[in-house]
Symmetry: C3
Subunit: 347 residues, 3 copies
């Protein structure tokens, strides 16, 4: 990051309630309290790191209002309502410097078919393909080597990163962000077993990605057999996640990396699936349900439930079972001894 | 889907044995019985949804010959030998409308090396790369941004979707379908540990994909160390699957999403691996074996076996163990009580 | 592989200590002892295959110095210090024939922005994108359809295979090899839950890939929230692996296929994670620690530990628990019987 902020710049962005100390350093990076060096800004986002503040070498430190220590020489403490939020505002500023809004227009190396519709304020980057009948909305940005298929629709203010794909007839609403390599609209995985062979069941439905969804690098969302696969408004999906055909994911869900959801399953609003969770097909995950990492879900999950393990069971039970499993060698030994004792005493 | 069929069109495609009722609606979509609306076609593919037929609002319903109910006003019932098969025929027709066969030829933005051989009836879409010595067979379609490396061979009637890669010297036989982002021929993962460093073992074998294989989005198949990695005829692979070097997968297998198969393992014909299954290296999975989702296979699997769990054991045993595990807290409690009682009575 | 070596060529490359027999065949391929055919070279890399040597039909066999058998007619035995190493030298030769070093220069279809810096000896292949401020070092090779973003840096002697992506400001040091479809620098997965919605936390850090790292097909490495995500020197990563934001991976580690590492976790030098291992966030994996396939790591791991299972526990304990779990049905039966007997005798 080739960024540089003066202490005054930082104050103008973070709006501290109290200011302690001062520094002559320019801020050229952000780091955690421990590894931070002079010229970097650090912050106290969680009480558990409070002990690291007195020793940090950061030139500027964002702290909560109730922090009581004093800065070292040539160090600036900024006490703010919410250090994480203040840092986020700073990062937004850095983001704008690093990835400035591209100029509208179609790069000369892009291949935009006649019959595609690209808004005047949209940006089609180098070596993108936009096929006939596709629509790209206002201010949307196809960064580079993006593919938007025949009849697909990309809404307004979307950002499709390098190598992402939106296959034919699929729809992204507004402010959707696809990380690099995302595939929207691959065929659902459906075959009928006929005469010793798997015959393909045509997959002629689509994918609908609602407003404000973000999808992580190299994740895949299959098109429906018919009708549509849906990812609801505000849902965030991490990298390498698989969403099967006809899945319907609700609003504001969190799917961590490498989750897999089999066909026709419904996931309720605000559900959270940990990394590598697998969900069988044709299930219903209730609103606000949570599953721990690597859980294997093979039955419906009630709203608000917190589950874990394979097969997934209530979290507290699973934690207890996991502990007791480690005591199985001991239990078997004790049982063998007890059984022998009984046998002996009753003989 | 901007499709539209008259009731007469639908009958011409689905060839009903009996017709009940009539509708004036055009069919503009397909949906499940429950959510279907007027203007949509629904079908009864599984007896468990039979109760939903009387209330469906679909304008046209495909039903099995033994269905006994009557349609509502402005509703058409078509009784056919196999509703799923009839629907499939309709979907094939939709598929042809949505993705018409592209015209043969090489898009002006594609990069086809001198010394590559492209059949006259093949289609090389925008921004594809075909390197020297590569061969593309009759009627095959490289859709867009596809890479076919030096000396690789793509057979007849293949469809390589956007961003798929066939690396140097790898071979696809006929009617192979690669979903977007598939990688065929990445290097196998092999190193020798020499003097504190992992030295790369050259991976100079190839990948052979037999006839009628389909591979899901962003899946990866590694080239062999030497000789070849093979995916057998008619096998179907879902999204985000990893096939290691020198793996040999038989004919007509099913590998669900996110399966990983380590190097040099052999998978027999008609095997079925559920989602997220992991298979260790140098194993033999027998013909027709089945593994449940997330199973972890660390030993050879006999033909026809059905296994589950990590480490994978026979399915029925695993199901029973899974139930008993949940009773471990109770068992420990009962055991502690019994042990105390014995101790007391014997003291 | 269209390769062909005379027996004399093979001897010149493998430098045998002893030579037995002779063959008139040219070597046109490499195969395992069992399936090898005349015209192929086989080798004995592991003592367990020693019994297969007498029956192999390979024309040339690489054997350890202590091998005592005799070749068949028209068969050449080459006894070498280390058959695997000798084979590796042969494979390096094949590699050079199959993938000759490309000529330096920028392909006319590539899109290299003004303000990007490409070394004179580097090769930018067809349909690559190099954005402004990016630097490509001496002898590095962007094969085809590669993306290198604004301000990113690729060191010397790197090989970026088709469709790989290095996002803005990320850094590859020297001799880094990215297999096809790798994504370096996708956004970290970070949101704050505000007023019922997940607000994106800007991810403005970078990724640093140190010398001699290799990353497998379609793997993803997220950029840091701030500061950087690091993959240490000599570490090898297999296909479809996810490395979260702010993760720091040490030197000479092995991450097998489909591993997932959550944000801010540190992995020590020489650690080995088996296929599909999942690691929770903010953990420390000690130097030289090993985890078996599918392990789920939810706590810190001491240096040198060998762990297995979900949740991961010491390997030997996990193996024992796994065996005892299968005896749970028997244990419950025995316990029920014992309990009944006690009850009866004490009543």
């Amino acid at each position: 990051m080739q960024v540089s902020f003066s202490p005054a710049d930082i104050q103008a962005i973070t709006l501290p309630k109290r200011v302690l100390g001062a520094t002559t350093e320019m801020v050229r990076g952000i780091a955690a309290l421990g590894p931070a060096e002079p010229g970097e800004l650090a912050f106290l986002g969680s009480a558990k790191y409070r002990v690291e503040v007195p020793a940090t070498r950061a030139s500027v430190v964002l702290l909560p209002l109730d922090y009581e220590g004093e800065p070292q020489p040539n160090q600036l403490f900024l006490l703010v309502d919410n250090p994480s939020a203040a840092l986020a505002r700073l990062c937004v500023r850095i983001e704008q410097m690093l990835w400035p809004k591209p100029a509208p227009g179609i790069h000369p190396t892009a291949s935009v078919a006649p019959g595609a519709s690209v808004a005047a304020s949209a940006t089609i980057g180098p070596l993108c393909v936009v096929e006939t009948g596709a629509e790209i909305g206002e201010r949307s940005h196809l960064q580079a080597q993006v593919f938007v298929g025949r009849g697909a629709a990309v809404g307004e203010d979307c950002w499709l990163m390098p190598g992402s794909t939106v296959a034919a007839e699929c729809v992204l609403r507004d402010r959707v962000r696809l990380q690099p390599g995302v595939i929207i609209g691959s065929d659902g995985f459906g075959y009928e077993f006929v005469a010793g062979r798997h015959e393909k069941i045509p997959q002629v439905g689509v994918v609908l990605i609602e407003n404000d969804v973000e999808i992580g690098a190299n994740s895949t969302v299959d098109r429906a057999r018919f009708s549509r696969t849906v990812v609801g408004e505000g849902t965030k999906i991490d990298n390498l996640v698989q969403v099967g055909h006809n899945v319907v994911i609700g609003r504001h869900c969190i799917l961590c990396a490498q989750v897999g959801i089999s066909g026709s399953t419904t996931v309720g609003d605000y559900a959270v699936l940990g990394g590598q969770v697998g969900v069988a097909g044709h299930l219903t995950i209730g609103k606000g349900a949570k599953a721990g990492g690597q859980a294997g879900i093979i039955g419906n999950v009630p709203p608000g439930a917190f589950i874990n393990g394979t097969p997934a069971i209530p979290y507290m039970l699973e934690r207890r079972v996991a502990v007791l499993q480690q005591r199985l060698p001991d239990l078997f030994k004790r049982f063998d001894a007890l059984e022998a004792q009984i046998k002996k005493s009753s003989s």
